[in-house]
Amino acid sequence: MDRLNPLRSVLTGHDLTFLAGVPFVYHCHHYNLFHDQTLDDALGEELGAQVRFRAARSACSELLRALGSVLGASTPPERAELASLLLPWMGHGRIALSTSNTGGEATGTHLHYGFSWREKYGERVRREAPADSFAAGFAAAACEFIEGLPGGEIVATEDQCIALRDPGCHFTLRRTGRAETSAPVVDLAATEGLVGATLEGLDEARIAAIAAGLRDFVKGVAGDERGVIAAFGVFVTMHLSNYYNETIYEAIHHVERSQPALLPVAETLFREAGVQCVFNTFGNMLLSPEWEGLVGAPSGDPFELLSSCCAIARGLGFGHWILHEYDPGKRLVLRAPVDYEVPFYLRRYGRSGKPRCYVLQGAALAMAVLAHQVRWRESPRLTEEFYLSLFRGKVAWAAEQTLCPTRGDACCEVVVSAR
């Protein structure tokens, strides 16, 4: 997919990444599964699947249409070729589409959610609902794109899923004839209009250098022949920020409306997804041969670890994270002009009365814990048991988001203090 790599861009000073102007980030399967699971907890399986499907269809539709326009894929065969190559390139598995202007069907192999759910949980619990809402949304968006249909007219139902112990994944696509009302687009142009000035923090030169190297490295990372990216010891996806953001905020707003007493619970779980991200993705990156070869194995110095985490966040497109203050062993202040959550919230919902950067909040907490409570020189194993020993019960650090651009503040700020 040599045609796609040149379409990547970075919003300078903000470390937000775009493909053909559509925002994307990298997340691993631990984050992705926990994120989707939390949506179902908050919304129930049925509504959860609908919200995930709609967000996926909308985000994938934006990407396919943007790529089609830039690459000049103007005929249905050209558009079908682009769609079939895109999903595996992003590490989401393969999908074979058979479409018409009334719908069609799709068959998936190694689809990220179903495949990684089975790998992680399949031997422990039986699943009752299919796992691949994102791929369903992609298939629907691809059908609309290929057939030249208005956005939102195709619905996809996953009627077989490997997470349900079916032999493969299969989707039925059906045209409803009802186009979805389009929401304000969150792309590079809209984001540029929403971000302020960049920031500089401690250890800036090192962070910037590693982040740049990392970004170069991930440019060479793409799905293998099965559409899977197994890098840094995790299953990685190049994923659409608008999918994550729309689903999180729709779920949070739903809880705010329907059971406000449980809002802190939902917020804690979405923060927890950020903790999982840093522990699993950042942690495994730091221990990987890739990191050892490109940067050097972690020395165990907490400040170096925090600095490395900021570089990883930037390299993965999470935003321009900086270490604003660090009092060893006591306090960490993490800032970013915006993270990948903020532009979406401002564009779709406008101002908020409270901070809204859930991934950033969880990530900051996990960074402090990983920096101070993990003996990196002893090459620790980042197992589930180790995770529970650090994050189950009362955690030794507490995080609070004190500034948020969705509230009108100049930047995002999370203060993490030792208890």
């Binding site: 099965r226 899977v228 010891g233 041969p289 890739e290 050892e292 070869g293």
Partner: protein, 106 residues
């Protein structure tokens, strides 16, 4: 360079049993770059600091030039219970490939 007896141990991975580690003297990495292709390992595109190869069975071997760390990344298509055996097979193939250069004591 004296011969070493590398040991295979479990390495970091989110996915159980997927990554396995052994260590070589850093100087042995250069010899490995020549020896592995002759043993059927296919060089993969990778940064200079981190040469990597694919085994005939589809497993990856990553080498860290500066430290000599080597990682076998067993293909995720191998069921969990068989990953250790797959890693051991790759490990044996690598060690055998390095033996003519006097790098391993096997």
């Amino acid at each position: 360079m004296s011969a070493v007896l590398p040991v295979l141990t479990r390495d970091h991975a989110c996915v159980r049993g997927m990554n396995w580690r052994f260590d070589l003297p850093p100087a042995a990495i250069e010899a490995a770059l020549d020896a592995l292709p002759s043993a059927g390992f296919l060089p993969c595109p990778s940064p200079e600091a981190l040469p990597s190869f694919q085994s005939p069975e589809g497993h990856r071997v990553l080498l860290v030039r500066r430290t000599g760390r080597a990682q076998i990344r067993v293909s995720y298509t191998v069921p969990e219970g068989q990953r250790r055996l797959a890693a051991e097979a790759v490990f044996t193939a690598v060690v055998r490939a390095l033996r003519p250069a006097g790098l391993t004591a096997w």
